[in-house]
Amino acid sequence: MYSKAIHIILTGYFFYNTFSVNAAEFKQPIIHFSITPLACIVKQIGDECQLTTTVDWQSEQALDVCLIQDKVALKCWKNAISGKSVLPVQLNRTTTFTLKNNKTQILAKQLVKISATTPKKYRRKLRSDWSLF
């Protein structure tokens, strides 16, 4: 009798948990996030690119969010439903910019690509891979 009741409670708890986690996953408060430009052209891959980017986001609800580049917060907004900012950024590789809340959850992300005008040069390897073995 007791074991049946415990079983029902645990099953109910499991379904509640599953449902609530799924609901949280699918409920994205950010309805718009853009960062422009989306690409930067450098002479050679590895060269540093300096960009003036325009960041724009909007949300259905007031949020505390930060714009993150490589774990560094470039700009934060407190209790805001939208944000727009012009920021200077430096890149030396293709980078993902993320909008995170104060729980460090990623709410939105955008890739900014780096392309090179000089194509990569290749040559034949003179030792095979893992020749140390």
């Binding site: 050679q44 891959i45 590895g46 990569k120 040069k121 290749y122 040559r123 034949r124 390897k125 003179l126 030792r127 095979s128 891979d129 893992w130 020749s131 140390l132 073995f133």
Partner: protein, 307 residues
């Protein structure tokens, strides 16, 4: 008794390694059945044998493996973390210890001046032997047969082998985009053994299953050591404070080998990786009183990560 036990353990290890040699390709084929990848095979082949210049390429292999040590009482060399560091410029290159300059480069041939540390001393740096018993037949018994009286060499009387730095020429002949022959001839430049060593190797890369990203590399070749190199590392001579009747001097040595590498991409940066190699030691090396194995085996299984 201790030596007998050690020998048995070494034989057992070699037997296990031989089993790995057979089982690894089967394991990789098995892996292939369940996994998927988006990498096209032609693209893999084209890029696998080429390398981007002016960029540092660093990879690391993590796993478990061993390189056997043929010396009497030599500890096998464990392999857990193996780094790979490469940098290729337009002509200059550094590739896992090889420092080179390619002064002739065309589609089929590259001729380079190359320098590197001779790896033969690696066995001696992991050599902690007891005294060696040599079956000397210098004295003859009444019935004319060699009595094979064991004589002891005190290991403290044998001179330390030194690390040699070799320099010489390397020719790469690119037969196709996935195969090549490499020829090397080197001489030591720091007056260690005052001799030559060389190698000839045929390399071929292929996908055993056409619909699979599994990549196999096979290398067949031989190392050649001049007489002076063999005698420096494996001989016993006047430099050693040993009874002259126990001296061992020999000729040059040719060690044929086969190497098999296989990898399977798991992601953009991770690859499943395995390697086995089997080298037969030349008679002039294996007959040395300080050598107890007839071959040299390397086996490794794990994963590689490209940074």
């Amino acid at each position: 008794m201790t030596k007998l036990y050690r020998l048995n353990r070494k034989k057992l290890l070699q037997l296990k390694l031989c089993r790995m040699l057979i089982l690894l390709p089967l394991l990789l084929i098995q892996l292939n059945v369940s996994a998927e990848t988006k990498i096209t095979h032609d693209a893999t082949k084209q890029t696998e044998n080429h390398i981007a210049t002016d960029k540092l390429h660093f990879s690391i292999a993590l796993g478990a493996g061993v390189k056997t040590n043929p010396l009497v009482g030599g500890n096998n060399i464990p392999l857990f973390i193996v780094p790979s560091l490469r940098f290729y410029g337009e002509k200059f290159y550094f590739d896992n210890g090889d420092l080179g300059y390619s002064f002739i480069q065309n589609k089929q041939l590259t001729l380079s001046a190359v320098s590197r540390i001779n790896s033969e001393n690696a066995y001696f740096s992991r050599w902690h032997p007891k005294n060696i018993f040599v079956f000397s037949s210098s004295s003859v018994s009444i019935d004319g047969n060699s009595p094979e009286t064991p004589k002891e060499i005190n290991i403290n009387d044998i001179h330390d082998r030194q690390w040699a730095i070799d320099a010489g020429l390397q020719l790469n002949w690119f037969i196709t985009s996935v195969s090549q022959v490499k020829v090397q001839l080197l001489h030591d430049i720091n007056d260690v053994y005052n001799g030559l060593n060389g190698s000839v190797e045929y390399f071929r890369q292929f996908s055993p299953i056409s619909s699979s990203p599994i990549n196999v590399q096979i290398k067949i070749g031989f190392d050649w050591f001049s007489q002076s190199m063999v005698n420096y590392y494996y001989g016993i001579n006047n430099k050693d404070k040993v009874n002259p009747t126990l001296h061992y001097q020999s000729g040059s040595a040719l060690n044929p080998y086969i190497k098999l590498h296989a990898n399977y991409p798991l992601s953009k940066q991770w690859k499943f990786f395995s390697a086995v190699s089997y080298k037969i030691l030349a008679t002039n090396i294996k007959d040395s009183p300080i050598v107890e194995e007839k071959n040299n085996i390397t086996a490794f299984i794990g994963a590689s990560y490209v940074f």
